[in-house]
């Protein structure tokens, strides 16, 4: 189960080097290990480092030759105008992402509960057909979806994105909750049944109170993927400025033709990334759990 997987990843303590004197070979190896880890960390951090330092050099203070050099003093001049440009699309994104994540989580928990604990004939097969929906390239449904969008007159509002993220989030949300509920012992449910509780009542009184970590995982997953989504946004809103969301607005700022204003571009990219980065920093454990759940086998 994914929660156990995460525990495996997160809770290996330093048994190997526990207060034992290392011999020369082992010492050398340890230094080599740290050296490699630090090099990899520098490479991994480089893109975000560039973004951060160049966003505080002001609008004109950003020069290509000093791209890697930290600023001598902090200058937030670029932040004001960029925020003016980005606040409406980002607010709009927050508005739809919060709704789509909550709806997805509710649907996922109901589906997961049934697929884990109330299996019916053919339920494993149906679940597998759901999972296929996780792997499909959205290009393969995009043309009918835009047609449906026009037909149902969803195109004029941001709810088209709520709709898309809820529908195409069903597979992953169901999977995460199913894996999560599989870890709850069946005896608990059987005992409740003996006491006369039905499916809905068991869900309400036993399963839901135990589901908070599962909800956090799914909410974070849906939040991050919908916030960062570009494909649905660009197809379903048709690039209309009235429906610009974080990624499409950012692409409008940083897209080709505007590449001279480095300070602005870096700042805008950073501002758009801040919400998901904050979630990652504070709830990384749940983020990781969502990632590992996506790997099916746990």
């Amino acid at each position: 189960m994914s929660s156990q997987l995460v525990d495996r990843v997160l809770t290996k303590d330093i048994k190997m080097n526990a207060k034992r004197k290392l011999n020369g070979n082992e010492q050398f190896f340890l230094v080599f290990k740290y050296f490699s880890l630090v090099i990899l960390a520098i490479i991994a951090a480089l893109p975000i480092y560039i973004m951060v330092i160049n966003s505080v050099k002001g609008i004109t203070g950003v020069t290509q030759s000093a791209a890697f050099v930290p600023p001598t003093h902090l200058n937030f001049d670029a932040w004001g105008p960029v925020w003016e440009q980005m606040k409406v699309p980002m607010g709009r994104t927050a508005f739809f992402v919060i709704q789509s994540s909550i709806i997805s989580a509710i649907i996922g928990s109901i589906n997961g509960y049934v697929f884990a604990k109330w299996k019916f004939k053919g339920s494993t097969f149906i679940f597998t057909t759901f999972l296929f929906g996780m792997f499909i390239p959205y290009q393969a449904i995009m043309i009918p979806l835009t047609q449906f969008n026009q037909w149902a007159h969803l195109g004029g509002s941001i709810y088209v994105l709520v709709f898309a993220h809820v529908i195409y989030g069903i597979p992953i949300c169901t999977l995460i909750f199913r894996n999560y509920y599989a870890g709850i012992p069946n005896e608990l449910i059987e005992a409740a049944r003996v006491d006369g509780a039905g499916m809905v009542r068991i869900f309400r009184t036993i399963i839901l109170p135990l589901s908070i970590p599962g909800f956090v995982v799914v909410l974070i997953w849906q939040f991050t993927s919908a916030w960062n989504d570009f494909l649905f946004a660009i197809f379903l809103t048709g690039g209309s400025p009235n429906l610009a969301v974080a990624t499409t607005a950012l692409n409008f700022i940083t897209g080709s033709g505007n590449q001279v204003y480095y300070g602005n571009n870096m700042t805008a990219s950073l501002i758009v990334s801040i919400p998901t980065l904050l979630v990652y920093m504070f709830l990384g454990r749940y983020f990781l759990r969502g990632l590992l759940s996506g790997s099916l086998k746990g």
Binding site: L5, L30, T124, P137, T247, L250, Q259
Partner: protein, 325 residues
Amino acid sequence: MTRVRVVSELSYLEVFRILKGESPVASTTKKHVQSPWGGFVFVLPSILAMAVFVYGMIGWTLKISFSHLNSSDSTDNSFAGLKNYRDLFQDSDFTHAFSNLLKFTGVFLIGTLISGLIMALLLEKGIKGEGFFRSIYLYPMAISFIAMGTSWRWLMDSARDKDGTGLNSIFHMAHLDFLQNDWYTSERGAMFAIALPAIWQMSGYVMALFLAGFRGIPDDLREAARVDGASEYKIYRHILFPQLKPTFLTVLIILGHISMKVFDLIYGIASKSYVTKVLAIYMWQVIFDIQDFAKGSAIAIIILLCIAVVVIPYLAYVNKTEEMK
């Protein structure tokens, strides 16, 4: 050997039972609560949604790909057979995008697998500061490609020497001038360059999957091998890696399907540039710029087929092991 593995597969609830002195067997013989219709009713809305919006719409795309809807004003819905597919294989833009995609997939798969595995190997035994390194390796998964594109465009700027920015200027300062190159704008190496951000983004994920794999292997196995005098290399080669086969399979499937549909990552850096065009970008152009829906649908179906040939057997395998439980 087999006994050790069985123990490792116990859930923590079963371990609690053992700790309390009870037999763990009671909960391993799972009797599933059977209810003929109750559960079905609750998942029915989702089943319908999947049937319409996943399978139905794939069918609809397939239908368009077999039609004459080759321009925005065309209403000719009649059956065109494989015409659009035949046209695609005559279309040099398509074959170019397809071979680019294969190149990208090769570089991306190998690069991500190796770097993720190295990260996992470095951390696998537990080391001080592990949490810090893990967080840094994994954060790229939390940021959108469109945002990271800004940084990467700069890092991979093609200006050189004194005018150089990004990686070229680093190489210049380090007197490694031979490493300077045109990155994603070069004619021959563009797909290699554009795979770098993808590798950067996914390595942490692969690391996490491998870490989970390594830590699922009971320590006793290593200890036993060590007592028998096996070298560290031999332990990895003959004991640990064979145990990681399922993890390798999972990693390959995940990376492979992500690679086949890659879109935002390339679009965010190189937009619609010819040298980095892949199927998803070409499809976007065909739909929006040329408005050839039939051809666009055919491209989409080809992407889908490439993924399906790998994913369907995998899901069948997962399904089978699931039912055996």
